[in-house]
Symmetry: C2
Subunit: 345 residues, 2 copies
């Protein structure tokens, strides 16, 4: 008898939700039951166009969704009864409220980085700490920035031991589709509290890492950029760091000399790859930026904030349901299904 597919519902069809839904729909061991939202805007209509079933996440919004022209299958409170895992991609902090529903129905849930670690109890980066989420009811896929930090630092940690990581993050002003809301024009807006929340967040995955982050918002809307200083326990070499990053899943090397000179060239490269929405699941590290000064190493990378956590969401479903007990098996499945590469070009 064929193993039953894990039934997945995506609650919240925004930047992350729409990408998770697409990714889940591509998995042979999962079935996308549908997506759930509270509005009838163009995004939700695109879900219908793809043939996804659309549910309503709030009893008082179903009528307005229907009036807005969305065929609503029913309320999430009904749909959830026949679901194994909800991926909660609701806006930040709404997930914490939704948790009540998941507890009530005994359904597993994956939360996103906008929720506190405590909401899930366990945080998740597939290549770092998959095992911690095995069989749990809840986990939390950490934010794009935290995921990028964990992937790269995990590679260096395995190769040399990371004694200290100090990172400056310049974030995009806002998501591409909401540029009119950012108000960040012709300036840089520093986050004046040091450390920024990213450092402590990394420790929810790489628990013992000594990491401090500083952050700011730029006036661009494409990707974050990270400037990283790492003190290694063992002496590193540029060649050794390159080898460690080449071995690490979901981390890739790019080179300015190949024309990948800035965040915008990375985005254009991703568009050329032909992926849905020009998404990049990998963390592109600039090879030329890697420098070693005795125990200190330096590197710079881009964090594709809309899409780098998508494969981890798929893996988180497998960890919670124990579809795969070995992280490498899950990552391999996910990466093959999404076309994740070890070299972009």
């Amino acid at each position: 008898m064929a193993k039953a597919k894990v039934r997945v519902l995506v609650n919240g069809y925004g930047v992350i939700g729409k990408r998770v839904a697409d990714a889940v729909a591509r998995q042979e061991d999962m079935e996308l039951v549908g997506v759930s939202d509270v509005v009838a805007d163009w995004r939700v209509k695109m879900a219908l166009k793809k043939g996804f079933r659309v549910y309503c996440s709030s009893p008082d919004r179903a009528d307005s969704m229907r009036r807005g022209g969305v065929k609503v299958e029913g309320l999430i409170t009904e749909a959830i009864k026949d679901v194994d895992v909800v991926v909660d991609c609701a806006p930040a902090k709404v997930g914490a409220k939704n948790k009540e529903l998941y507890l009530k129905h005994g359904v597993k849930a994956v939360f996103e980085g906008g929720e506190a670690h405590e909401t899930a109890g366990t945080s998740f980066v597939a290549t770092c700490n998959y095992d911690e989420s095995l069989g749990k009811q809840f986990t939390r896929v950490v934010s794009c920035n935290t995921t990028a930090l964990c992937r790269v630092l995990n590679a260096l940690n395995k190769a040399y031991g990371v004694a200290k990581a100090r990172v400056t993050i310049v974030r995009r002003a806002c998501d591409v589709w909401e540029s009119h809301k950012s108000g960040v024009i012709n300036t840089i807006v520093p986050e004046l509290h040091v450390p920024s929340h990213h450092g402590p967040d990394v420790k929810t995955v790489l628990h013992d890492l000594d990491i401090v982050t500083m952050a700011a918002k730029g006036s661009h809307n494409l990707c974050h950029i990270h400037f990283c200083i790492v003190e290694t326990r063992k002496e590193a070499s540029k060649e050794g760091i390159i080898a460690a990053l080449e071995e690490e899943p979901r981390v890739v090397l790019v080179r300015g000399q190949d024309g990948v000179e800035a965040l915008n060239s990375i985005v254009e490269l991703a568009r050329d790859l032909g992926r849905p929405r020009g998404d990049l699941y990998e963390i592109p590290v600039w090879e030329e930026s890697i420098a070693v000064n005795r125990r200190e190493s330096y590197l710079m990378w881009a964090t594709p904030n809309e899409s780098n956590v998508i494969p981890d969401n798929v893996d988180a479903i497998r960890a919670l349901t124990e579809l795969e007990k070995d992280w490498r098996a899950s990552v391999k499945k996910t990466d093959e299904s999404l076309g994740v590469l070890s070299r972009l070009y």
Copy 2:
């Protein structure tokens, strides 16, 4: 008999030159002989409007300047015979060529940060190493970024000893008046070579400092921003760092909670101060960004790239000519003449 004024010519009337000319004209112990350039654009016409004498820096450009409507007093090669100090504000690397002229005429010269340290032999930040330029023929006022780094790190070095400084610099895309040339739109362009040139440049002034810098260009055209991590020899405290910065000339504290939230609010604040061109000579450090984690301290500041080196240019003239032997006396004179503040508001 009254002491003769030092006769100063400004060669190159661009972003820095026009500001240096204004600043020199305000000094009681200096006389602005005139300014020299090679074009007849609006900038040079503004010099005439101010009543500055305009010379031509290149024999083959005098006719075109005159045809362009500029009253040219003569060639720099003539003017220089009656000058004590030239402040060379020509475009980067042109100063090195001009050096021949200054050597030939035995005239002293101040170069800018666009020139190599070797061109002058000595580099200069008034509050850090004034004495090294006393009586010399040449010195070099370092760039805006290097000046900012030297001022802030000098304060911390005096208070605690700086064992290491690690700084990420996000530069403005280009100067305000040349935005059409930058090509940096909606992105961040990393400088892929680590360390960036700023760190080594700081060592031309603070010779023994262990400093590494990483840099990138943002898509804004207002000020650079620095994210700094300092390992101190003695344990620091936030209060102690604030006190050290308050004592340091040309460094000021600003606060996000007072509405100074980003680079653009600093520029607006500077405009409100009523200075020429809304210039800021001080380095504004965000008080909230100062954090101390055992031996490590963190701070963020803005570097007003058009104007922060202007007072140092005035002091460099005094150092070369030994108008003042004590750096504090020169800095006091300069700061009073320009209205430099220890608090902006």
